[in-house]
Subunit: 466 residues, 2 copies
């Protein structure tokens, strides 16, 4: 269909924005990566409007890309310039958050932001315990199965999606999943599970019911300094065993990442004064109310000192600690070109993987610096490689070599090359080349049902390249 | 294929049992419901042997029914007498339990019993926190997405399955899923999720990696008496708010169920002495170590008394309390014919549903007694209807009318007619008649990939009737 004629497709149906007439920049400019291009942005406000949009696209063979808050990091949330694409933003899918206090659940539209939901939930002492630097929409969090800093204690987004409602691009624009608020349901295949991690390629997520948990009554946040990175698992073990289940975060920031973060303008102060340890760990313990206190965390720290695991430890103000932690990624990007790698392995083998990755990058690109950081407590790490401005960006061959080397190491360790950012153009090749045939056939079979004309999601999403 | 000739199919391949020659009763006699009939029982000991069995069945068009510990309650675990069926027991899929303490995970073969896993995990202060009256195999727990008494705090089985390995009945006897021990993985569709709730109809589960959590350091177990059933949600609210996240069980036992349980031979004593309250609640709080104590639960109980919510409350010995609770279901079955209903609704509407169900059954069958009990804290209830021995069993029409009435009420309340027992012949009709077309088409698409000849699982499983 002629892109110029696209507005006529939706006339009278729903709100839409036309590039050149309206400002559509925020739907084209992702949090990271190259700018995309929306032929048109449609903003339906309810499920029937979404079905209407999908129906018109299917009838006219127009590509449709669902978009949440456009905070995704794998290139799936913006439309490619080379394919005329309608972007369906969830911005107006935002009816009020309905909290069922008796059931500890919230029913939300897909466009609801994480911060909005948590503000509403906090009034009842509840939270969706997914902690992120960004403020995504709930639909996007489901489509990526996002993780964040508290997976260690609370698990990934999947755990909290009790139900999701999804519009398919089949002949009937069928709706699958539900907005049922059941804590358990054993009726076979859970269609909601198909929405989790679907990346916009298996349907348009319109709403969800999420589980809420109690806000902690108190917490203790420490920055810890470790000289020998190989002993980080041992440190985790000591702290976890002494107070089982109480650690809500165990974040690692390497020396290379921390020293570059604390020098940035406006950064919170270095918690260790003038020193930057080889490895810094942000450890957070959280406690419920009524006597389940955090008394004695300092004894746990002392035990770790006694075991020779710590070089320093500072009880810190939580908001300063988290502000610093959440700045790491973007601070590095101000200093040059960053190749990001979002990986996970079994927690017990994370430090081995880290060392291998450092060695591999040093061999391939001695001019680059591994500035790794991430969620070590759940086996996750962002093995981000910085090419400083004075070195200049790496060429395509070197980028590919580094990514290939790290992904190979990760897969050899039984790990994932997409721990929490989802699937999209950025990791599509790897998915296509390493996913077993039967699993690709399963996705093809699902696509044939929910998107027989292959119109949903980014055309470079791996599900659209099967 | 001639059933007499079946043994020749497996000769030299793997251990098998022939009815009439070997005792196969335990593979034919389910925990509940009618006896089935195995044409042959095969007991492969590893994935390659499983693939060998599946390959022979596919090549010869022989039906294959995967079976765990045969503790299932929906008729899916035994083979139907009318269809010659090979039963694949996981009894020998039982290599040692491998616990990765550093990662808090266990890699287990499908035939591993829950009790075996938990015995091994307890040595490290860890557990798979699924509490059941039965002792199922891990593969069966995954195939039913089982629940149990501690879903309230810990969630259903799905939450604990980090990975599952499954053999498909396609031309290549492909293996999907994995034995990866990742706490988070965002690579799109998680094939492991397809195994959860698959009821033996989407593949043979051969192994899994499960998440383990810390064993509690201490707990407090109370039997509470409630006069007015409608105030049970209020009671839950008071207790939960005073100590958020600490309740690990909140089990309801109705007067009708409790008075019939305590009179059974060998039953633990009535915790309330000579009284049986209108509704009894078994409430359990659990606490982690190092200062996160359970001091003050009695204050919470006192607050509930002050609010007029309790008629009685007794701190009890946990093993006696649970022994009584886990006897309820089978005790009722010694007293007549029980029509079991395994339902869930949003927690906040459970008591409304309960009253409607009691009224509906009273109207349809005044001679019957609703003896309900179950996991009220997670919105689940077993609305079990007893036809006492002196009344005699209900006819088929009445059975169908009662089941229909209860299922209709449950669905109208946004609930599930299979909260924790899975899908099988017993609830197949309801699944087929109420599941949206697109979700049935999604299952058909998956079946076409993993079981194109429709040989896997019970022939009356709904996935085999699409």
């Amino acid at each position: 269909m002629d892109p110029e004629a696209l507005p006529t497709l939706f006339d009278g149906l729903t709100a839409f924005l036309v590039p050149g007439i309206d400002d559509v920049a925020r739907f084209e400019d992702p949090a990271r990566g190259a700018r995309g291009r929306a032929a048109l942005v449609v903003a339906p406000a309810n499920v029937e409007e979404v079905r209407n949009v999908v129906r018109r696209c299917v009838a006219n063979g127009v590509r449709l890309l669902p978009q949440g808050a456009n905070t995704g990091l794998v290139g799936a949330s913006v439309a490619p310039p080379e394919t005329p694409t309608v972007v369906l933003t969830s911005e107006r899918l935002r009816s009020s958050v309905a909290i069922d206090v008796g059931s500890s659940t919230a029913t939300v539209s897909a466009g609801t932001r994480l911060s909005e939901l948590n503000e509403a939930a906090a009034a009842y002492g509840l939270q969706l315990p997914v902690d992120l630097g960004a403020d995504p929409a709930i639909g996007g969090m489901i489509a990526t199965n996002t993780g964040g800093s508290r997976v260690l204690r609370y698990g990934p987004m999947r755990r909290y999606v009790l139900a999701a409602e999804v519009v398919a691009a089949d002949a009937d624009t069928s709706v699958f999943g539900s907005l049922g608020a059941l804590r358990k349901d054993s009726r076979g295949l859970d269609a909601t599970q198909l929405a989790v991690g679907s990346g916009g390629a298996l349907g348009v997520i319109t709403g969800a019911v999420v589980d809420l948990v109690a806000l902690p009554h108190s917490s203790a946040t420490w920055w810890l300094a470790v000289d020998d990175a190989r002993r980080v698992p041992e440190l985790f073990g000591v702290l976890d065993r002494r107070r089982p289940g109480a650690l809500t975060a165990f974040e690692l920031v390497s020396r290379a990442a921390l020293e570059r973060t604390v020098i940035a303008a406006g950064a919170p102060p270095n918690p260790f004064g003038h020193e930057v340890p080889n490895v810094a760990v942000l450890a957070e313990w959280s406690f419920a109310g009524n006597g389940e206190g955090g008394n004695g965390v300092e004894d746990d720290i002392a035990a770790a000192f006694d075991a020779g695991l710590l070089a320093d430890g500072r009880l810190v103000e939580p908001s300063l600690a988290w502000a610093l932690r959440h700045r790491v990624s973007e601070s590095l990007r101000t200093l040059g070109t960053v190749l990001g790698h979002d990986v996970s392995v079994p927690r017990s083998s994370l430090m081995d993987l880290r060392q291998r990755a450092i060695d591999a990058v040093a061999a391939l690109a001695p001019e680059a610096v591994m500035c790794d950081f991430g969620h070590a407590g759940d086996g996750g790490l962002h093995l981000n490689v910085l090419f400083p401005t004075d070195v200049g960006p790496p060429g395509d061959a070197l980028r590919a070599a580094i990514r290939g080397a790290i992904d190979d190491l990760v897969l050899a360790a039984g790990g994932s090359y997409s721990a929490e950012h989802g699937l999209g153009p950025l990791n599509a090749e790897r998915w296509l080349s390493t996913t077993p045939l039967i699993e690709r056939r399963l996705v093809t079979a699902l696509k044939d049902v929910v998107d027989p004309h292959r119109l949903l999601g980014h055309p470079a999403h791996p599900y659209n390249r099967l």
